[in-house]
């Protein structure tokens, strides 16, 4: 999968690239308006991460150009502005999603996976990981073709893990993904623990290996043990 990172902050851009490369994506980056335009015109990408505030031009006009050229690249807007106007106009112009800074890289990764899924696979959206099969259209999970019942939060958690398989995900990131701004950190840790416990139990009972590993003092990792 090819990702284009259009972001003028070099540190941020390289962090994102590092993380995504370890996830298995192929990454390219552009740090200003003109190189971004050049790259989008010359190449196709599975997902473009677009920062709106760019030196040399407005990121939204790149989006407009992409749509005008009928390009099928997915677009995820990342912006520090967090302005409702920008959010609305971005989505109206055809962006697939909008993520405001600062965000956790694991959140970014999960959103990119969602954008690519939506764009690439018209029809069924099946994610497979080892023995797990997740159907994102019907929102069902099955192990060896046997369905297992998950609560909404457990399903979201599982999807999040699979999108960031092999990565260490901090509790903060999980809390933000599941509850956004509604909860303080201290409140959410207990809940996370409970949900993880239940999810683990259901997966093991369904016949899976325990993919969820605790990383002490930090968070969790979803991978083969």
């Amino acid at each position: 999968m090819k990702i284009l990172i259009i972001e003028d902050e070099k540190e941020l851009s390289s962090s994102i690239a590092d993380y995504l490369i370890q996830e298995g994506y192929h990454c390219e980056s552009a740090a200003d308006y003109y190189s971004a335009v050049e790259k989008t015109e010359l190449y196709d990408y599975d997902c473009i991460l677009l920062d709106i505030t760019l030196p040399g031009g407005n990121g939204l006009s790149i989006l407009r150009q992409l749509k005008a050229n009928h390009k099928m690249d997915g677009v995820l807007i990342i912006s520090a502005k967090n302005s409702l106007d920008d959010r609305v106009s971005g989505l109206q112009l055809g962006a697939d999603d909008y993520l405001s800074k600062p965000f956790h890289l694991s959140e970014l990764s999960a959103r990119i996976a969602a954008v690519i899924r939506r764009r690439k696979f018209e029809g069924s959206n099946i994610i497979r990981y080892e023995d797990l099969t997740i159907d994102t259209l019907s929102k069902t999970v099955s192990i060896h073709n046997k369905n297992i019942e998950l609560t909404r939060k457990e399903y979201q958690l599982l999807l999040y893990f699979v999108a960031n398989k092999g990565r260490v995900i901090s509790k903060n990131a999980i809390a933000e993904h599941l509850w956004g701004d509604h909860m303080d950190m201290s409140e959410s840790y207990d809940f996370i623990y409970t949900h993880i416990k239940n999810l683990r139990k259901k997966l093991i009972e369904g016949g899976c290996v325990d993919y969820i590993q605790s990383v002490y003092g930090m968070g969790y990792k979803f991978s083969l043990p």
Binding site: S15, Y19, A80, H182, M218, G219
Partner: protein, 415 residues
């Protein structure tokens, strides 16, 4: 009252005064002129009689020649010459008719006569009446024409003003278009139009400046936080990190999280204060409250809080984001500052909304509760939640207040 009506009224009163006053003067002047004219012709008669008497040494015939009556009366003493008007009975027409009389002394030999020469005053009076009628008619006509002119033409003259007024009323800062004005040849309206266009353009510029400022501030502050966060995300991938380091990283994550929230809250406060949330829609508050409770259900369940709601259909015209924020802040406060097994009661109707929760008493003065950064020590929040809630309420001229009764905290909003 409308300007035209006001103007008309003053106009008409002034004109009436002037015309009435003028008419009276006019009447009396004309009357005097006409009577003086009559008197002059009587004087001519007087002279003729005197000449006759001087020439022929006897009185002429009393005649009713040319409508004038002459009479000679013997008197013991000479009379004083004078003019006067009198009514004389006319047996033919059986009515009194007024005449102008000149009485003067005449001596013929030793005899003294009082001679009266008179002419009919009726024609004079008729003339006067005619003149008064014409004048009155002219006055009425003038008033009528003024009225019509005021109605039709003045209204048309004011048209550019009404158009400008309308475009001011239609001016919407959110649409970012300066007020439109129509060209006009009237200097005052031209000036008005220029002033309005300038003013609205400036308002739009100021709004954009403010908006850009808060957005740029957001960008500048959030970007370094984003960088730190992303580096932390990468650091924890390193398998070599031991527990102690992991704990430090966790601490950093939390700190960045708090900074981010703080930053966002402060910017939100500024934006609300700057009126940057203009877009409003009809919101069903009762639905929004239910939604929020659903989102917070895990928190509620974890603290074993009982929730009681009395929600009536309450439509409010507000910005959706602000409404969401307001309810979020109030409800999560009610949960956070509650005890295990506590209670929350929400009452909503078209006049008020009251959220009441059990919980420990405030460790600070209740009057300060809506101040920024006012919070209890055990709370992890930014201390801005209620300040934001109050700012939103101020924006919509809602009144919000806090009170404490029977170990319960009450937050009430009056719409």
């Amino acid at each position: 009252m409308k300007l035209i009506a006001q103007y008309n009224r003053i106009n008409i009163i002034a004109i009436l005064f002037v015309l009435m006053g003028g008419s009276f003067c006019y009447y009396f002047i004309i009357q005097r002129v006409l009577i003086a004219q009559l008197d002059d012709s009587l004087k001519v008669e007087e002279q003729e009689i005197i000449n006759y008497v001087n020439k022929y040494h006897h009185l002429p015939d009393s005649s009713t020649y040319k409508g004038q009556l002459t009479s000679f009366v013997l008197v013991p003493h000479p009379v004083k010459k004078r003019f006067f008007s009198t009514d004389v009975y006319d047996p033919a027409d059986r009515e009194y008719k007024s005449r102008r009389v000149l009485l003067f002394p005449l001596s013929l030999g030793p005899k003294q006569y009082a001679v009266s020469v008179s002419k009919s005053q009726i024609e004079t009076e008729d003339l006067l009446t005619l003149i008064v009628m014409i004048t009155l008619g002219a006055v009425i006509l003038l008033l009528l024409i003024l009225f019509v002119v005021n109605r039709l033409i003045v209204k048309r003259l004011w048209q550019p003003f009404y158009q400008t007024l309308q475009s001011i009323q239609e001016f919407d800062l959110y649409n970012r278009k300066p007020a439109q004005t129509i060209d006009t040849s009237i200097e005052e309206f031209q000036q008005l139009n220029v002033a309005i266009v300038d003013m609205t353009a400036k308002a739009i510029r100021d709004y954009d400046t403010l908006k850009n400022f808060s957005e740029n501030a957001s960008h500048e502050m959030q970007t370094p936080l984003a960088i730190i966060n992303s580096k932390l995300d990468l650091i924890i991938q390193d398998h070599g990190l031991d527990e102690k380091l992991m704990k430090q990283v966790q601490g950093m994550y939390d700190a960045v999280g708090r900074l981010t929230k703080l930053n966002q809250s402060l910017l939100l406060l500024a934006k609300i204060g700057n009126n940057q949330f203009v877009a409003a829609e009809q919101i069903r508050l009762e639905d929004l409250i239910s939604e929020k409770l659903f989102q917070l259900e895990e928190l509620v369940a974890a603290k074993h809080i009982r929730i009681e709601t009395h929600l009536q259909h309450t439509p409010v015209r507000m910005n959706r984001y602000l409404a969401d924020m307001l309810l979020s802040n109030l409800l999560s406060n009610a949960i956070r500052h509650n005890v295990d097994g506590g209670k929350i009661t929400i009452q909503l109707d078209t006049a008020t909304m009251t959220i009441c929760n059990s919980g420990p008493t405030l460790p600070f003065d209740a009057a300060l509760i809506f101040d920024r950064f006012q919070k209890s020590d055990f709370s992890e929040g930014t201390g801005l939640g209620l300040a934001i809630a109050k700012q939103i309420c101020d924006n919509y001229h809602f009144r919000i207040s806090y009170s404490h009764r029977d170990d319960l905290h009450f937050f009430t909003i009056w719409f």
